[in-house]
């Protein structure tokens, strides 16, 4: 029951903070959205910052589970699994009318400069996200699927943050073509498939 209440508050935070950011989401609003009594918040969370950091972890868990779903499909080469992952997220953005964008990217631009605890935690989460992408590139290298990659980690960083940039562009243009172009540049030029 207790776990349920905590999860309800976190779920409400995830929805509201994805839509409005950290600062613009009030605690009252979160508790109302979660339909839990007012006193519950401080039973589960030290303060709003502690809550925000746990909300970031929820976003990261979601990112990891989506990435794993796509990259565990052994019927495809690793490069194609990665490409399918990015295309899957593109469909998700199109279905959501291009709103919201990447919640971890949003948190970064909003909070990294003004709160050192957030910055450190976001840095950690982003490093782990990049490592997950880099692992796929390494597997593709080991299987000799790709020919032109020197350093999987550096390439994964460039891919991940270019993607964050494309999500930003998509938020403003409301056009899927930018993420399609991202796929072209990344999977035709930066990563060249040996079978192409």
């Amino acid at each position: 029951m207790k776990t349920n209440t905590k999860q309800k508050i976190l779920d409400a935070g995830v929805r509201l903070m994805h839509e409005k950011g950290f600062n613009d989401t009030g605690l009252q609003e979160i508790l109302k959205e979660a339909s839990v009594p007012k006193g519950s918040f401080y039973f589960y969370f030290k303060n709003k910052q502690d809550f925000g950091i746990q909300v970031i972890d929820c976003f990261f868990q979601h990112f990891k589970s989506v990435l794993n779903r796509f990259t565990e499909d052994a019927s495809m080469p690793h490069v194609q699994r990665l490409q399918t992952f990015f295309s899957g997220f593109l469909d998700f953005f199109v279905n959501g009318d291009f709103k919201g964008g990447c919640p971890i990217g949003n948190f970064t631009l909003e909070m990294a400069d003004v709160n050192e605890d957030f910055r450190e935690h976001l840095n950690l989460i982003l490093e782990q996200s990049i490592d997950l992408i880099a692992n796929q590139i390494k597997y593709a290298q080991e299987k000799k699927e790709i020919q032109n990659v020197d350093d999987p980690k550096t390439l994964a960083e460039f891919i991940f943050f270019s993607w964050e940039g494309m999500i930003m562009q998509m938020k403003v243009s409301k056009d899927r073509k930018h993420l399609e172009q991202f796929n072209c540049f990344v999977f035709n030029q930066l990563i060249r498939n040996n079978k192409m």
Copy 2:
């Protein structure tokens, strides 16, 4: 005198909104920072939104003037001028302790989803920024400096928003290596110089 007061208010808005974003910057704070009387604001601006849009224009004018300063240097090939422009901005970020990031990118993530007037104006400004980069790539093509670019506009879009992504990464990592890596990927792989 009137123009001076308007410019003072805009300059204060530019400083504060770059640091704290649009929503977190109050009008009182802007007027205090600008040291102008309270009543002045509505003489020059319809409302906070109208002011925010004019602040975005100030950021864009600054971006254009920096880009022009680098790209008008006829002693260098066009590709090198573009590369020098990105390196110049990197130095600016390093000197500023990686804080602030790109104000137009910040405005986009904060406002594009929640205010249609902001979204339309940001879309226009970003299109114009991309066209300025695309023009440099076109000039480089015309002068046969580069060999592997099909569509300057599409490439300029990818470069511009990858750069936005790198700025995001830099805000969180406080490390210049990401923008250096950006230069490598863009100017060694995506754009290949004929003279290399």
